[in-house]
Symmetry: C2
Subunit: 361 residues, 2 copies
Amino acid sequence: MIARQRLTKPDGRALVLYARRPFPPIEAAPAPGIEPGRDAHLRWHPLLREWVVYATHRQNRTFLPSVENDPLAVTIEERRPTELPRGPWEVAVFENLVPSFTGQAPSPPGAIVETRPAHGVCEVVVFTQEASGSLGALPLPRVRLVLDVWADRTEELGRLPSVAYVFPFENRGAEVGVTLHHPHGQVYGYPFVPPIAARELAAQQAHLEATGRGLLADHLAAEITDGRRLVYRDESAPAFVPVCARYPYEVWIAPRRAAPRLPDLTDAERDGVARALKSVLMKYDRLWNRPLPYILVVHQAPTDGRPHAEAHVHIEIYPAYRLPGRMKYAAASEVGAGVFTGDATPEDQARELQDVGIELT
Amino acid sequence: MIARQRLTKPDGRALVLYARRPFPPIEAAPAPGIEPGRDAHLRWHPLLREWVVYATHRQNRTFLPSVENDPLAVTIEERRPTELPRGPWEVAVFENLVPSFTGQAPSPPGAIVETRPAHGVCEVVVFTQEASGSLGALPLPRVRLVLDVWADRTEELGRLPSVAYVFPFENRGAEVGVTLHHPHGQVYGYPFVPPIAARELAAQQAHLEATGRGLLADHLAAEITDGRRLVYRDESAPAFVPVCARYPYEVWIAPRRAAPRLPDLTDAERDGVARALKSVLMKYDRLWNRPLPYILVVHQAPTDGRPHAEAHVHIEIYPAYRLPGRMKYAAASEVGAGVFTGDATPEDQARELQDVGIELT
């Protein structure tokens, strides 16, 4: 069990503080005194049959502020308020000041395609009170706590009628659009099942109906038997470069057992996933002895109350570089056709990651 | 009718030279004396149910060479051979030295997912003999010739049994991964219908079956009636920021008539598309008085010999910047969930493009 305290900011946004052990209550939640954005709406894309989100208050959001203006630092009396209070919390979650989805979104005007308010939730997950560092460099118990927080957000947001799917993620590095260097991730509570998750769930459902088995569980077994692409061996949750990696050094981490969602993971499975995750992130940064930017996403079952026996929660990580100093670009084939092209085999890239020595701390 | 001459390079690759008027035959096609890459194979991605391409010879491809080493310049006697001969040609097409798809791809070893040789074609389309400049800055007749070349490639590659879909595109600017500054685009002949094209075709087919009308033709009519997002008004081929734009300043250009593929366009329609395309590209570069990087793709019907009454050829252009100096990043929501988030409305961005004055030359 983790300890949590829920507060409400003066502007109405939620703040939830987490620690591994109970901590004395914190009196008040600060807010930077800027009106939270709420002008977010959805439009239907008729050719791709998917929703597109417009959040116009995001255009002038904070962009790589100096350390003195870090909104994710704790509030110090003589400076203007930040997003976070002082106190012995370890991980903090608050509603984004410039959300793409918000319960306060107004009804949009009509258009030549269907429109809807962008109801849902966008949260910021602050991994540490330290302004520098990274998720992978945090001690293992803190990485485990981040997993517990993701699971808690999945449960709490999943109970909201406006949320159909909970999506924890981290964009790491300015190369993937990060606008704040303080170690943090985000959680989106989408009001629909997002297209990529829907495609994975449909493939898993088809496999379950055809074979009676889980698609990712079968894939894990095959990756373990093959063995060439395993980056971290763990009884409960291996990490591997998938045989069909679309990004350089792409890694998947999944529990052996086909749990549908993060909250369904046992303590032992969470420990396994945390060890695998920290191992992979440490290997990334030691591969070329420089921080490797990446996009990390959690794919899990929708929060519609159905059991989703087909779903198998897992983490996918997509690094941004194919060689030191050489970005992997998503260009016309990827973006306009949906065909991903790789310059190295998953086997070769897995071997490079296998050869990076690390020690879990 | 355009003039064309087909040659074979010493290394076996095809070269096709184009001009608007007949030109004296060119004697020989040069080649840089590097063995063409052929080590390309496909693997099946079981969760996304799509093919991923691995072309390992691409890892060390030429990266932003100096003007003296421009492989797209014409060959000059005292220097080492480039990809192109001297002569009065206007546009040149040759098979990529480092292709993602090639008819020479060998059978790959087996894996825990299905594998196939990456048969197909990757061509480079050189827009001009000038090493600098851009597609949008070329005279209108040259832009029209590029369209004719794309149509010719669609016909020629579409006749190959290994090619299921012809995809002309341009990556413009180092920000979208361009490795050569000489104005050029590419054409991929995919051995399957790519996932994004397949989704658009399925939506068009469903609309045709439900209404008896074309989905994009209906959308064009609605955009024209609405009018707020039109960037270039043309009887035969308007340009507009679509109501559901996923990228900043995204523009679609489509003939009013639902022609399935580029070769099906009439002379008048090609003139209209060329005028619309040049207008949009000129507006892009004058918007902030700096070259705007973009990805340009052509979506059309597969080349499987069926009529494809549902398909409506069109151009989609995705710029890379949302503000001067501020890239639009595809981050976790886009890449890991498939949900695109915009910071400005299509109406506002269309108005900005409308306000940019240009004169077609």
